[in-house]
Each structure stands twice: as structure tokens, then as C-alpha cells.
Symmetry: C2
Subunit: 635 residues, 2 copies
């Protein structure tokens, strides 16, 4: 076996950032450029901008009416109306017209008695400068319009132009070269074969670069070859201000990046105590920052935020604003290691007046967990974990407003949750459904703790044969509860297309490889019930310990040949083009507190559940009976 530098030394996140920033401060020169003010939206001013002219440019009428000399109006009253002559005592003005000497006040049109075309009467004296906007009232020539280091907004563009400023000096946008590396990496337009990984990180980085005010430049993927990677970095350095190499930043046999960067320049940091994202490389080559990022999408994302964005900010003068931080109650115990600062993705929901943070999958490869999350809960390096029910700080990357209009669902998984989540915002702009899949039982526990609005559940009472109701009664003895009826769905054994192993029923699971669902999942409860009825003990099933978190994950495992069979719903088998042996029908409903039914978002959810659009999607997926969908059973 080849040589591996197996143990990456790590340093704390803050230390790595400070060390790198300190080194870059000495070499990074902020470049500026002069651009038209009207194209400067979102750019950072390089220095203060001072007005060239006043606004208004002259003493101007603030109302439609007549311009008069205030002194001349003295003595006018209801009893003694004063008649003024056009061209002599007054001039007609519209709002914005100049008021020139000797005129120094404006009387509103509605306060005039018109006598004829040439004369008006007034019933009241006016004071000087009444209804006149004096020159420079808004902007005075020479005054500062906007300071340096300021991000230009639409209103700033308005005053720049009103103040006579047509061009403005701003920080140049940093150019970021993005080099994907890896022999297994293919461009997205190629058909992938086994072992291939579709290149997506550089596209994500490009979008992040745009969001943070830089100009991205993506290069074609480079195979794992020392000289080729070196040549790619050389070229990117010529063409950009910052270079990002992804991946090969770790210490494996084919991780060349760190060796190349050591040869080309100086590596300041290799390995940071952050999870996910440990194998990051911070280096300086030819006076420019070159950063090596790991390949897993979540690690790549977190490291880009922590190490690339501050370098961009340093060049553009923008401040790295951490996301909006809120306090939320943690719904599940989180254990972390003292070895690193950990970024745990969380879903955040508002249930009652509490914000609830529910941790999601923690794997560095789980890009979908970033998509599904609403923010990060950051567990410090000196902390071993946080207990459920404790208050944590969450860095949100979704707005609180959106979160407040979101129906929170925690419980059992079914494909119809996807359909409902899709239809919610399309039917009610700004309303969302957020679902976390933990199984029926864990969902009901979350409902009991007040952490979810609804808990999708399909739990069979073995004695009565009735689904869900007895569990609710037992778990919520003192509360007024309800069930929103969902769907009847067919559960069965998902097998390879054509059923090559000839599986007919539960008994046959003893002679094939199986993939199970996690503990507490209704489907697993059903399997256990069926095994017990058939007199089979779990040890007889090869793969009983292999767990998948959703019906679709079970189907995918069967599809890949990783297992011969798994239990799940018809729609999952159908979606992955697999065969399906039905074993029974069950009721998949939404448990809810009765008082929660009153919420506006729940009414919207009910409306979507009963909609034709939903019905069509469910029917197309197959295996569902929608006869009672949307009915409410009060307990």
C-alpha cells in the first residue's frame, strides 16, 4: 500500500482564520475601479462620496399654488381679504418650480379665492419661506452622501445622482478560480458509470461567490495527477485573485494538493478542528490565497463559508455577516467531541411561541440535509454536547418570516409528504411544509413535547387491528387530540424487477438479504408483527440490522443490489421501477392537538390535502386509497 499521511494535525477554527487573515493582510492589496453610479448596486464604496450639487438646486415651491412676497401679505384676514395681481404680486407655481426673489413664500392653490384670471384673494397672511423647499434642503453640495466601505443600495443610487455624482469608486469584485480535481469526477452532462461522481461543488461555489460579491471562474475537472493539478493551479493564479482547489485536500494516497502547494508556495494551515470540514488547506502562492477544500459537499460548503468568504470580504471591504442568529429549543440530544467545532444542520419550526431546532443527518456527504435545513447549530470545540430541551443558538439561513409560516411535520415518512410540501407554497405563496422523518413513534413523542404541529403516523394496535387512535389515547391521556385522516396505503415487500429470488411472502425473507427500517418506524413495527405471527425470529433475517431511513432509501438499496428485499410502500417500488409483493393495507394519518387545528397554516395544509392537485399526484404514484383523506376525527 502507498504512503499515507494518516494523521492530519488540526488547529481551532478561530486560530486558523486569524493566522491566515494576518498573513493575507500584508499581501492583499484592495483594488478599486470607477464605475457609473447607476450600475453600482450592491458594490462597496472605496471612499466617501461627497455631493457635487445641492438638491433642490434652487429655492423651490413645495406645493402647487402661487409664489408671493411674505411681507406683502401682512394684514390679510377673513374680514380684510387682500387682492393680489398676477405678474406683479404673485406668480403661479407648481410643486418643484423655482421661487425667485422677490418672492419668498408659497400659498397653496386651495387657500386662494379666485376673482378672475389675473387676480386672487387671500384671507390670511403668510410667513416667509412657507411651503418653500430651500436650496440644499435635501442635499447640500459638499456634504457626505455615503461613507467609504458602504454597500450601495437603490436609495443611495438615487441620492448620488441627485447630488450630481455620475461615477463612483468601488472595490473591485474579487475573481475566484474554482478547480475541481479527482479522476472519478465527471462533468454533469456526461452519463455517469459506477465509480463516477458528478461534479457539482464548483457550481455551488460559483453561486456562493456570486452571492458574496465575487466573480467566479470554473475550470474543467483535473484528474489526480501531480503535474496536471500544478499546471491548473498556475493558470488559475494568473487569471484570478483567489484560487480554490477541490478536493484532494486530505492526506490520502491521491491527495496531492498539499504537496503541490508546499512546492509552489507556503501552506499555513492543513487541518482545522471543524466538523464537517476538517481537511482544509490554507496557503499563499505567488502572493495570492490558494485554498484547498474537501470533496464532501457539506464539508465544502462549511469550509467555503469559514475560509473563502472572509478572504473575499478582505478584498472587497465587505463585512462577513454571520447569518441571522436566533435562540431555539433543541428537540434531540446532541453529542459532540472536544476535538472539533461542529456544525449541526437543524430544521427550525415555530410551534406555539417556541422556536424548535431539530437536528438533521450529520454526515459530511449529506448535501440534502443542507437543502432541508433552516440553519446551523454550532457546537463549540470545548463542549461535549447539548441536552434535549436546552436552548441553543441557531444561525439561520432561511428567514424567520418563512419559518413562522411553515407547518412542521415530524414523524413517519411517506412520499405524499413531498407532494404536500411541493403544493403548499404553490397554493399559498409564502407558506411551507417542513417534514422530518424519524418514524411514527418518535413523531408522536415530538408532538407530546410541543415540537411539531403534526405527526404523521401509522401504528397498528395489534389487539384491535385499529390504526393510530389507541396510541394517541395512551400517549395524550389529558389532552384534546385529533387525527387528520391521511391515506390508506399498501405495504409490501419491495424486490428486484422480475422478482428473481421468487419471494412470495414473509417466510421467504429467511433465504435472502434484507434491508430494514429504523427502530420506531411503523413499517418496522409491521415487519416485527408479521415475523411474530409467522413464528420467525429476527436473527433469521440476514440484514435485519441494516437500516434505511425512508421508503425510498429501502427501494434504492434493493435497486442497487445491496439487498434482495425490503419492506415499504407501493409508491416507492413504483418510483424506482421495482416489483412489489403486497402484505397489507394500513392507515397513514396526521396526529395533531385539537387547538392546533385553528392555525391559519393548518387550514391551508388541510385545503391542499383535499385538493385535486394532491389527489392527482397521489393517484399517479399509486398504492393509495384517498376515500377519507382530509377528514378530521376528534378523540
Amino acid at each position: 500500500m502507498g504512503k499515507r499521511n494518516l494523521y492530519l494535525k488540526t488547529i481551532p477554527v478561530k486560530e486558523a482564520q486569524e493566522q491566515y487573515m494576518q498573513a493575507l493582510l500584508d499581501i492583499v492589496v484592495s483594488k478599486t475601479e470607477v464605475i457609473p453610479a447607476e450600475d453600482s448596486l450592491g458594490r462597496m464604496t472605496a471612499k466617501a462620496v461627497y455631493a457635487r450639487c445641492c438638491s433642490p438646486l434652487f429655492n423651490a415651491a413645495a406645493m402647487d399654488g402661487i409664489a408671493v412676497t411674505a411681507k406683502q401679505t401682512q394684514g390679510a384676514s377673513q374680514e380684510n381679504p387682500l387682492t393680489l395681481t398676477k405678474g406683479v404680486d404673485f406668480q403661479i407655481v407648481d410643486t418643484g418650480d423655482p421661487v425667485r426673489p422677490p418672492y419668498d413664500a408659497v400659498i397653496m392653490a386651495e387657500d386662494l379665492l379666485e376673482t378672475d384670471e389675473e387676480h386672487v384673494q387671500i384671507l390670511e397672511a403668510v410667513s416667509g419661506w412657507q411651503h418653500v423647499r430651500p436650496i440644499g434642503e435635501d442635499i447640500v453640495a459638499g456634504e457626505m452622501l455615503i461613507p467609504g466601505g458602504h454597500k450601495i443600495r437603490p436609495i443611495d443610487i438615487g441620492v448620488l445622482i441627485s447630488g450630481g455624482i455620475l461615477k463612483v469608486e468601488v472595490a473591485k469584485k474579487p475573481k475566484i478560480g474554482l478547480i475541481p480535481t479527482g479522476t472519478e469526477i465527471i462533468e454533469p452532462d456526461k452519463e455517469p458509470k459506477e465509480g463516477d461522481i458528478i461534479e457539482s461543488n464548483s457550481r455551488m461555489f460559483a453561486a456562493m461567490t456570486v452571492n458574496y460579491g465575487g466573480i467566479p471562474r470554473r475550470y474543467s475537472p483535473v484528474v489526480d495527477d501531480y503535474e496536471k493539478i500544478k499546471a491548473a493551479i498556475k493558470r488559475a493564479l494568473d487569471e484570478n485573485d483567489i484560487v480554490v482547489v477541490n478536493a484532494g485536500s486530505s492526506a490520502g494516497t491521491e491527495d496531492y494538493t498539499v504537496h503541490i502547494l508546499r512546492e509552489m508556495g507556503e501552506v499555513l494551515v492543513h487541518g482545522v478542528a471543524i466538523k464537517p470540514g476538517k481537511p482544509v488547506i490554507l496557503s499563499i502562492v505567488e502572493g495570492k490565497p490558494v485554498i484547498g477544500l474537501p470533496g464532501y459537499p457539506v464539508s465544502a460548503y462549511i469550509d467555503f463559508e469559514n475560509f473563502v468568504r472572509p478572504v473575499m470580504d478582505l478584498m472587497s471591504g465587505e463585512r462577513h455577516l454571520s447569518g441571522h442568529t436566533v435562540k431555539a429549543v433543541l428537540s434531540k440530544r446532541l453529542v459532540s467531541s472536544l476535538k472539533h467545532q461542529e456544525y449541526v444542520r437543524v430544521k427550525v419550526g415555530k410551534v406555539g411561541d417556541k422556536l424548535i431546532a431539530s437536528p438533521l443527518a450529520r454526515g459530511a456527504g449529506a448535501a440534502m440535509s443542507l437543502v432541508r435545513a433552516d440553519g446551523f447549530c454550532i457546537i463549540g470545540q470545548n463542549c461535549e454536547g447539548v441536552e434535549a430541551g436546552e436552548t441553543v443558538e441557531v444561525e439561520l439561513y432561511r428567514s424567520l418570516d418563512e419559518i413562522e409560516h411553515t407547518v412542521v411535520s415530524i414523524g413517519s415518512h411517506d412520499l405524499i409528504l413531498d407532494f404536500l410540501a411541493d403544493l403548499m407554497p404553490l397554493s399559498y405563496t409564502g407558506s411551507f411544509l417542513s417534514s422530518t422523518h424519524v418514524g411514527s413513534m418518535a413523531g408522536l413523542m415530538a408532538l407530546k413535547r410541543g415540537e411539531t404541529h403534526i405527526a404523521p403516523t401509522h401504528l397498528l394496535d395489534e389487539e384491535t387491528g385499529i390504526y393510530n387512535i389507541s396510541y394517541l389515547k395512551r400517549l395524550f391521556p389529558e389532552q384534546e387530540m385529533a387525527l387528520i385522516k391521511g391515506v390508506k396505503r399498501i405495504q409490501g415487500i419491495i424486490v428486484q424487477k422480475g422478482n428473481p429470488k421468487g419471494i412470495q411472502g414473509i417466510e421467504d425473507l429467511r433465504r435472502v438479504t434484507y434491508v430494514n427500517r429504523q427502530r420506531g418506524a411503523g413499517t418496522r413495527v409491521l415487519l416485527d408483527y408479521l415475523l411474530k405471527t409467522a413464528g420467525i425470529c429476527p436473527e433469521e433475517i440476514d440484514g435485519y440490522e441494516k437500516e434505511a431511513a425512508t421508503h425510498m432509501a429501502v427501494a434504492a438499496m434493493v435497486k442497487s443490489g445491496g439487498a434482495d428485499a425490503g419492506m415499504g410502500v407501493y409508491s416507492a417500488a413504483h418510483a424506482m421501477d421495482l416489483d412489489f409483493i403486497p402484505v397489507g393495507e394500513e392507515e397513514y394519518d396526521f396526529a395533531i392537538r385539537k387547538e392546533t387545528l385553528k392555525l391559519e397554516e393548518i387550514r391551508q395544509f388541510l385545503h391542499v390535502l383535499k385538493s385535486d392537485e394532491f389527489r392527482k399526484k397521489a393517484e399517479a404514484a399509486g398504492g393509495y386509497d384517498l376515500a377519507h383523506t382530509g377528514e378530521i376525527v376528534e378523540l
Copy 2:
């Protein structure tokens, strides 16, 4: 005089919005387009996007090491190491490599004892699927990646591409045609003459359109001519989805817009109970929304937010998210009318742990008040006002993070505040100085109420001839206070270039026109003192009642000929190229509570105050003595 439709009928904001949206719902068709996923940042999905392939695409090694068959490792232990043979019992894998049958588990490289190139020893049995990422662990083919009506983020682009999606259907960006109208309007590149107004609103609207996801198209200004405006609207309707006409939306002699729109289509609303922004026109012409907005920049901005943005949102499926709302304590009484919903611009500062909202200028023309403000305090139509000290809701358009890093200054105005505000963020990225100019006395009162960090002040004790200290002692008898020494500055009479009226001193003010400062301003206190000493009574001064809020505003008024003389600092006269007759030197300092000196931002402020960059700017402006600048006097 021409006919004027003087009294615009107004309806409440919400009613106007609902009426218009209801009418548009029936005619606006959401258009979609299919674009490359990698270019879809910030776009709104037209429908849910489902994965085409799994990620990983195969069962993949999650670690660098060897792939083995879990069953074969049974029995291995410290006492009974198991030797495995390459190519027979194991295969070397790097992270991401496929794990193919019969292999079903990975052992990490660091857990291996290497015996030779062909053999390894293991000391522990492993369970199936250890360190293997099963196919579809992250993304399962067929599952929903992102719902419809979702704004695409960088991470979404990552999973779209990983899920095999190269193209995505999104809402088309609405095109907004922007037509400036008005005979007095000139393009910014022309040199303005008296009576001209530089066209800036359409540039501001264009930037707002970009921010809210639309495509702006600006047209050249159209003079106040019925047929020409009509032709411009016709053309804009052909080329855009929404048309905005600015201004001429009111009911004056030359306000043609409403008449044209009545001829061309249907005017649903003319006049909304909103201040500023009353004369808004909401119409539908040729099945498209045409909106008339008033000309004053603040009215235009507020109406664009309230009436154009929701129409854009309707087309793009985006939700109109109001700015982030916070609770703040109002620093000054606000009176409002029952006639309208009023948008009061406020500066927001964090002093201690209170957020303080200080109202700014309320004129519709005061565009700089929008630049200086941090947000809006909205006073409902059914509310007559709010008392100082009450808690109000503020819609922020600056981030709370920025506000928390801002030194708040309320008090007397001097040009050096501009210099300091400019230098703060350039010296300390992300730190700001925000200053409100209310005069020395009002600033000290704000300091007393805990609404500001520092209060710039120059108040002369007539008995001792000492500045500031006696006022602090009297106003803060029980508190530990300090003065940060600012500058000594020369006060004098600002007069026309060449001093045509031959003004030599205070006595001469009796025979010219004067512009005064507002009550409570140190400069006014000084004038009053000088008048009293000279035995002159205020009634003798023509213009004693005419008030300007800053030194620069006084200078601008003199420059324009609106007054012959005004009192102010040398730097203001210098900046406007005016003559200056010195009348005395005074001390302009910053009052502060002693405990506030400890704040990090105040330390930064002190550092900037003592910096060479600041000294250079102040010396270039002229009239300042900086011998004691930055020194701290504890009282």
C-alpha cells in the same frame, strides 16, 4: 388659472393593495422558462424538481482503507489477528470508491496492521455496511429535491446537479418599464440650470427592480405633453410586463397621467391614505399593470415598495417579505394624522441593551433621510401618534448586526462628523458612526435618556467662559461623566463671496437678511449671547425666524442668495466657497457617560479621532485647532 382636481380621494393602503391584486390575479399569467440549473441562483422554481439519479450512485467507501466482506472478519481480535490477502479477501479503496459485492464493509487504513504489500492484519471483526455510504444515502432517484415556489440557493444548485438535473423550470423575471416624465426633468449627464431637476428616480427604481428579481428598462424622460406621454406608455406596454410612470400622478395642472390611463384602460385607485406617497395611480391597461408614482423620491420609494413590488411578486411567485421587524423605544414624540398611514424614517441605535429609534426628517423630498435611516416606523391610519419612550415596531432595512456595531451620536452638527463616519468603517470593517443633528442641548437630553452613546456639544457658560463642562455637571448631577475633547473651531458670519454687503460684525446683521439655526443649537446660543452683549434684540434681525438645521444648510442658503448672512463654522463657508468673518473660537466636544468609554466601538471611535487620516481631513477643511483632540476629561 387652469383647472385642478384639487382633492384626491384616498383609500386605506391595505384596501388599495387588495383591490389591485384581486383585479390582477385574473389577468396576470405567470410565465416560466427552462434554464440551466447552474445559472439558476436566486430564481423561483415553477414546480417541484425530482432527482433523476441517486447520490451516491453506488455503494461507496466512506473512508480510505480496504473493502472486505463483513462475515469473513468474524473472530478477529487482539489475541487472534486475522490476515487478509489482497485481491482475494480485500481491495484497497479511497473515500468515494465503489464497494462491490462480495465486499460489504470498509476498514479504515489506520486500523490495519500492514504485514507486506499483499497482506494486512486486522484485530477486530466488523459489521456489514460499516464505513459504506449506501447508494442513495444522500439523494434517492425520484425524491423531491426542491419544491415549487422555492428561491434557488447555492446548495440547491449543488443537489440539483448531483441529482442529475441540468435544467430547471423557473418563473420568468418580470420586465418593468420605467418612464420618467416632466418638462423640468433632465438626464444626469446634462448641466442643470435653475428650475431643472436631475432625473434620479428611474435609476433608483431600476436598482429596486434588480433587487426584487425583475428586469428594468429605463426610458428617456418625456415632457409634460398628453400625447407624448401616451405614446411612451404604449411603447413601454409592448416591451414590458409592468409599466411605471413617474411622476405626474397627482391632480395638478400638468398631471396628465391619470387622464391618459383612464383613456387607455381602467384606473382602479387614484390616491392612497399613505404619507408620504398619497398620489399613487393603480391601473390596468391592455391587460397589464400600469402604476403612476409621485415624483418626490421618498414618496416614490415607499410607493414602489407598497404597490410595484407586490405586483412583481405576483408574477414571480416570490413572497413579499417585509423587512426584518424589531421593537425599539421611540426617542421623540411622533404626531400623525388619522388621514393616512405614515412611514417615518428612523435611525436605530443600540445603547446599552435598548434599541432606540430616532425619527428623521419627514418631508417627502428628503431623500437623504432615507439614506441616513435604518428603517421605517409605520404609524397606522387609526393612530394619532406615539409618545416618546413608547415601544414601536421598526421595519429595518439595515442589519441588526451592523446596528449593534454602530456608535450613536446625537447632538450638534459639525463637518468632522462626516469625516469620522467615513473613516470608521474603513478603519474597522463593520463598525459605523451614525449621527443625528438636533443641536447641542437636545443631544445632551438624549444622552440623559440613554438614547445615544455620545453627544457632540459646544455650549458656552456665559459666566465662566468655559465650554460644555458646567452643562454636563448641571444635567448629570449623579452620574460619572466624561468629555472626549473634539476640536476648537472658529465660528463666524458666513457671507457672499467678496462680502458685497460689507458685513464687519454682529451689528451689521441689522441691515441684511439673515438665516438662523434651530432652537437649542450651540451656534444659535452663541448668536443670542453676541446679540445680547451688543444690545441688539432679535426682532431687529430680518430672518431670525428662518431656521436651517446644519452649518452646511446655512452656507447653502447664503450661496443661493436666500439670505445675505448666517452664522456657522469656517469649514462650511470654505466648502461652499463663501467669505467668512470670524467672531470667536469655541470648543466642540463629545459628552459621554464614563462607563460607555469601555465599549469596543468607542475605543475604535477614539482611535479614528486621533488618527492621521482624520487630522489631514480636518486640516484640509480648515478652521480647526486639533491640539487636544481625543483627550479625555473625566468630570
